[in-house]
Symmetry: C2
Subunit: 469 residues, 2 copies
Amino acid sequence: MTQPIVPLIMCGGAGTRLWPLSREGWPKQFIALFGEHSTFQDTMLRVADRARFARPVIVTNAAYRFIVREQLDEIGADADILLEPMRKDSGPAIAAGTAFAVAREADAVVLALAADHVVRDRDAFTAACAAALPVARDGHIVTFGIAPTQASTAYGYIRPGKAIAGAVRKVAQFVEKPDEAIAARYVADGYFWNSGNFMFRAETLLEEYRSVDADSVAAVTAAVETAGRDLGFVTLDPEAFARAKPISIDYAVMETTARAAVIALSCGWSDVGSWRAVWELSPKDADGNAARGTAVFDDARDCNVIADDAVVALEGVDDLVVVATGDAVLVARQQNGGLKRLVAKLKAVVPRVTESHLKVHRPWGSYQSLDAGDRHQVKRIVVKPGGRLSLQKHHHRSEHWIVVRGTAAVTVDETVRTVHENESVYIPIGATHRLENPGKIPLELIEVQTGSYLGEDDIVRIEDDYRRP
Amino acid sequence: MTQPIVPLIMCGGAGTRLWPLSREGWPKQFIALFGEHSTFQDTMLRVADRARFARPVIVTNAAYRFIVREQLDEIGADADILLEPMRKDSGPAIAAGTAFAVAREADAVVLALAADHVVRDRDAFTAACAAALPVARDGHIVTFGIAPTQASTAYGYIRPGKAIAGAVRKVAQFVEKPDEAIAARYVADGYFWNSGNFMFRAETLLEEYRSVDADSVAAVTAAVETAGRDLGFVTLDPEAFARAKPISIDYAVMETTARAAVIALSCGWSDVGSWRAVWELSPKDADGNAARGTAVFDDARDCNVIADDAVVALEGVDDLVVVATGDAVLVARQQNGGLKRLVAKLKAVVPRVTESHLKVHRPWGSYQSLDAGDRHQVKRIVVKPGGRLSLQKHHHRSEHWIVVRGTAAVTVDETVRTVHENESVYIPIGATHRLENPGKIPLELIEVQTGSYLGEDDIVRIEDDYRRP
């Protein structure tokens, strides 16, 4: 009996191609684009069978650590969570996860998966993993090649070479994203899309990477060896990790190694790289219109509406994506090559809407601003069962809290009291205070702040369960 | 010295062509589409010169009485305000206003104006009124004909006949909205657009109307004679008014009378009958894009964005109107012939967004829902200086009020207390209570309701300054 495959889930990216749903603070892989789970959660569920897959290793950015923990809790999954102290592209991230896997299990076979891809046919995926395993164990780096469904110009292609074992073949060549004419030829010639998901023996990958850039592998390995542990997270050593050269795994390893193999995969795959891809994956009415939220169409075709709260009405238009969130509305051609440029413009004009959502997640729960005036702000605050905000005080504002669901334990200076639904409590300016949910259901409260300055940075943290500055 | 012209302002309409800004509860004529004033206010200001114009008569729907009063107060204007108990189209409305004018001033000359039109050149308008006056006094019904700026198919046309006096000519014929080819011929032949604004001796109009439908004129005249007075409004008698036949003034009088005259008017006129008309009247950037609120354009041309709070971003589109309000977003071709159909669909699916805005106006001020959950709702309430809500109680909810600006006088059962900024008060379920602004600046408060039922209809009114049921 051989040991199972170690899934290595890469979820540190901060893509802008699905703005305004995807934002820096809560990017695409954590959004439930289809159904109830995020693509990160679906990716975790895809490797949940412990007979085939070992405990996963997750590599993410430190900024996303509490999102990852929360989304794992939601699906009852667990994993080793490695925190990158800074972004270094996929090469160092995969190398770090691989070094961690090999430290945990000598001779590990690693399955490196992007957390923001859709796979509709889980069985086909599992079967491809099973077919790739012996070839990977044999010392190949097996990449999952997607059988093209169209002559796409959005992906790199793989030219397959001679057979290795069963459906697994040598990689003859990785080729860059083509133009349309060349893409059509590639498809006719049996090339695959490069999905950016791989299987390999940990040692194979590290050897190949080392042969190209030994210093970076040494840096990453050191970052794993001297990693800290904090609140259950593995914190890669910042000084060591900083020495790794930022590079994608394709450039670092795949395009140079002689050990690349490819297995064809037909599993309803998409990297959901554009709003058009979301539309393609969504159920549509007879006019080709897709809708999430309340949408009304008149004389509209092939449109995609995603609406948080507002009703969205379309008239006399076609091929548009309309995304209406509380603080930002996108109206764009579905085939939106310009979205990256648009988001760059937004970042210059109103950076707030590229950075975070109206609803801001915290390790203890979330808050959302409901109203803001010159001298007041209203927020809805949700605290998870057992969650506890930092012990804090404010220089410039007082706060009224009205509990509308659940039970709060509220500390104000020396006193602690329990506040129930439909009760309120007042936090005078300058008072040391803390909010906690001692109950079994989420605590919801409405906070009304009044004062001369209401910025998030007017928080003096005296003590914090989550070790934030 | 002859007596001045009596302006008769028609502002009872509830158009849908500018949805979602225009809604039944606060329609187009009351919206500040351009600059700080609504078209109703601009219309009032256009006839503010008391040397030329007498105290205006306003005919509006009973539902809009407090909006009219508030908008008059804002511009320091006053008028006799006639309330229609029901909608009967423009014929009975103009007849009622005219009957009221003649009762106030025998031999009155009336200037009937739509409240939802834009006139950019006020001097040209005033000059046309002066030129029309002697002809109207002479017994003609003078309609203002707009010199066409394009071969529009959106208006009825007027074929002018022989000269009467100066620039005023007989009307040879009123013609229906034409198709494009015919419109072009009309323009070449010197026809005018029918603006639907008129000047006439009161007795002339009533005589002509009587010759076609004497019963309706008798009904309307009776409704004026037996009208009540309530809070300063003139309430047309519902029983009498109900007997009038609903018909437009064009059909009732203009297309049959032999006394129709027309004066050409070039005054930057628009009836703002579509979003395209709004775009035409708005300042635009080099790409032809107009924006109110925060908009970011990339590869977009000839678009119009109106955004309340959200940032609106457009990419790769042209000739669109995008209107983003807190609860409804419209995306449509600017030349939106289908908007009426779209709003009819919306009325079936989500009538709320066709009926009222998120911000609901009341005679004492306004409120806006900020957040709604299963068992709680949060509102921002603004009470005008001197404003007072009804003495009321609720069966199903308690309320927390936090004053964030100004000072409140709060009655709870037998006690009255003054509540200042940053203070709160609790209204237990079932308690008789009242909110009043005794101060000189607007009172703003945040209301947090909790309870099992939070509908607006859970109000038992015990006493009300504004005589609402």
